[in-house]
Symmetry: C2
Subunit: 473 residues, 2 copies
């Protein structure tokens, strides 16, 4: 046995329920869970034993949809009208991010995520292979690495009511990259290649069909932004006809099925959502991000109530602020309760399930992660029940571990994070990553990016320009 | 000079705006701020200097409405229908809290709050003087100590449509306690006595009028739960007539004015809100709590847009989970954005203002706290800008400090907390409080309370009983 966490309170999510057990042991060998059960049934010794007394051990969190590349731009764009967010607030600064900046941004974002208990990231980026090579693989963190496929020609002035011009070569290059990634990591436990056609308005139908076909050949998932807003709807109507919608076009072309991971969907009509849910497609919602950028609560609870595979994601730092997934659990619950005007909506145990097994299922990884079960890869989080955001935790007449983790636990309570059997964070400190180094480099690079983008940002004239001049920022 | 924080980025909220300044010094003498300005204008030396480089210094947060006493019951009641929350889920366990348990609960809640940057608590409790003596005073934490005045006779089976029976003596005793508190602490900087008639349905009108009169004599505020829900509305109609409402009765009796701190108000009609806002009364909203318990977003943004004095509060741990006020800032913003379907609602700078100067104003304390200004009491928070939830922070072309604090900063980034010039938390560690001791005692007592309340909890039969039996809890 390589590792054992002993005497711990366990939240297993076996069979989809927390099934809290006190006085348990989780044993790990060769990156795999080999024992989950009572302390006294555990035989033999582990090379490394972690005392789990006063702690809660649960499956690692899955941040099922995340762009960590822009993390250097945290604080750059929020509190503006939705229509300004990308083009006038974020874009003028994002244009000045180099590929190297995005790598450092990813490091910062992943670091923040791990500190909140994330062990698997549904990373979505152009040339995602570079983030895999420079961040995820060296750090030993699991990633559903999604290569962005976007064929929109570089054109500053895109009219939402005229089909965007496509550049065949751009789209093709991205698909080639996705294919190469999927070949390179076909046998990897830690890197799960995923195809990422950005959105239906951003790729020609033929390329989309080809992408789905390539994904099917390689048994990969296809991760798509779906029904993101009015601009997308107008594009789809302009290209496919007045009655067309993203969900309709996907369905008409046989692309609506279990392979699809549909993200956002806040602009989908109830009828479109119904068809999505019936198709077996997975849904991922990013409550903080869509609330911050669009002022809308995404239909997380809606899809959950239809028993769809549902995951949660933190999206990108500019807007919602960052990649604290433990906080996202709580935010998802509160936003769901208010949008449904129902305090029983997205209860603690379900919110926590979506952030673990739900996300794993949505990404097609529930055979290997998402719960504490013998045979699964060992992705674990150990949380200090004596942190002032968690304590006290009692076990009778019911366990308060689950509500206290879902509704209250701060990132500061995350004590130990294990990915694929390796300890990444211990006693709240990174084992191999030089955190200070990452943050210093992020700070330095951010100063340069904002400085270089300052004139463009001012010229774009978002609402933030005046706010800054008036001393509000 | 006793204390100086040097070379720091300052968020001052002088004139109500963050007005971020880089390279500043905050100087403190005798518990008072004596210098706020550029480093190079600071003359003399302080006995204790804190290096503020790479940090953000801002006014201490004000948790304007909080019941810390029930913190031992964190996780006891949430995800249930509103009608069950108090009577079937929380109540059966809360009945087993002793006064000593409430003191320990208060310690845990205050400790959690301080760790999130809170320097002033709008504490609301019966016999609040005991919490003042055993928690706030010995710990040196500022408190608007609000004595609960509730005259409802102890009767298990209160019919919402029949005026609750009042017990004259109970109400009178509470008012006497409030008077004594206000006499004892008339000259205190740290303890601000406040009158707390619980709600209009829980006190006779005569006692309420008397309470306002006593408060006026002593220049104290009156802190009241207003328009909390249908049960209150039905009581007011039963007692005062079919067209009566809490706001209407208060207004008709001349009690709607600047002295009033009205909490919650989520059941107030727009017209009632209008009258409240026009009266000059302060408003305090508890977004996490009301979302968790009622599935409703309270009208924080509504009152803010009318320029009412508005503060934020965390209410009690059971339901929303705890007393992390930094998280409450973010939650307030996201819930406000979605309920208004407007991403510009409650922007970062305003959310942060409500949690500092806004709360101070709502509690009647803006002459002494809420901003970094010479002459005010020295309540400060120093936040690590290199924490992975805050970094990077840039200053040009605008400062990202405010959005990063409001939308992203984790409690883990809170480095130093100063109350009335005294350092309470330093480098993330309590200076005088034995945190571990408090948590151990909270854990021990909570186990006893839940054990003693188990049979009552089960007999009350809330939805959580089945959930627990089925392995969801």
């Amino acid at each position: 046995m390589d590792l054992a966490i002993r005497g711990t309170r366990m939240v297993t999510f076996r069979d989809g329920r927390p099934s809290v057990v006190q006085g348990g042991t989780v044993g790990v060998r060769d990156g795999r869970i080999t024992y989950v059960g009572p302390d006294d049934g555990f035989e033999g010794r582990a090379e490394r034993e972690i005392d789990g007394a006063g702690h809660v051990t649960m499956p690692g969190l899955v941040d099922a949809h995340v762009h960590t590349g822009p993390t250097l731009l945290r604080g750059a764009a929020q509190d503006v009208p939705e229509i300004e967010w990308m083009n006038r607030a974020l874009g003028p600064l994002a244009d000045h991010l180099t590929d190297d900046d995005r790598v450092v941004g990813a490091k910062l974002g992943v670091l923040e995520g791990i500190r909140s208990g994330v062990t698997t990231f549904g990373e979505y980026a152009s040339d995602v292979g570079r983030l895999v090579e420079e961040v995820y693989e060296p750090w030993g963190v699991r990633v559903a690495a999604t290569e962005t496929i976007n064929a929109v020609a570089d054109d500053a002035d895109l009219d939402p009511d005229v089909p965007y011009p496509f550049d065949e070569r751009t789209g093709r290059t991205a698909l080639d990259r996705a294919d190469a990634l999927s070949d390179d990591y076909a046998d990897s436990d830690l890197v799960i290649p995923t195809y990422g056609p950005q959105a239906l308005d951003m790729v020609p139908l033929e390329l989309l069909e080809e992408t789905f076909a390539h994904a099917a050949e390689r048994d990969c998932r296809v991760h798509v932004h779906v029904a993101q807003g009015r601009r997308e709807r107008r594009q789809i109507e302009a290209r496919y006809g007045d009655d067309a919608s993203t969900v309709g076009v996907l369905e008409d072309n046989g692309l609506l099925d279990e392979r699809l991971i549909a993200v956002h969907c806040h602009d989908a009509t109830p009828e479109e959502r119904e068809r999505l849910a019936e198709s077996g497609a997975a849904y991922v919602g990013c409550p903080s991000s869509i609330a911050a950028i669009d002022g809308v609560t995404p239909p997380v609870e809606w899809f959950r109530r239809r028993d769809a595979p549902v995951g949660l994601g933190t999206d990108q730092a500019p807007g919602p602020g960052g990649h604290d997934m433990l906080r996202e659990v709580r935010t998802a619950a509160l936003l769901s309760k208010t949008v449904h005007a129902d305090p029983t909506a997205l209860p603690a145990w379900e919110a926590l399930r979506l952030a673990t097994l739900g996300g794993a299922t949505a990404l097609g990884l529930d055979d290997r992660i998402g719960s504490l079960e013998v045979g699964k890869r060992a992705d674990l989080v150990v949380i200090d029940a004596a942190d002032p955001s968690v304590a006290p935790v009692v076990d009778e007449p019911f366990s308060t571990a689950v509500p206290n983790l879902a509704h209250s636990a701060s990132r500061a309570a995350v004590d130990t994070v294990v990915v694929d059997g390796d300890v990444v964070l211990r006693d709240g400190e990174f084992v191999d990553v030089d955190e200070r180094d990452v943050i210093d480099e992020a700070q330095e690079r951010a100063e340069r990016v904002f400085e270089e983008g300052a004139a463009d940002w001012r010229a774009a004239g978002s609402a933030l320009v005046d706010r800054a001049d008036e001393g509000w920022l």
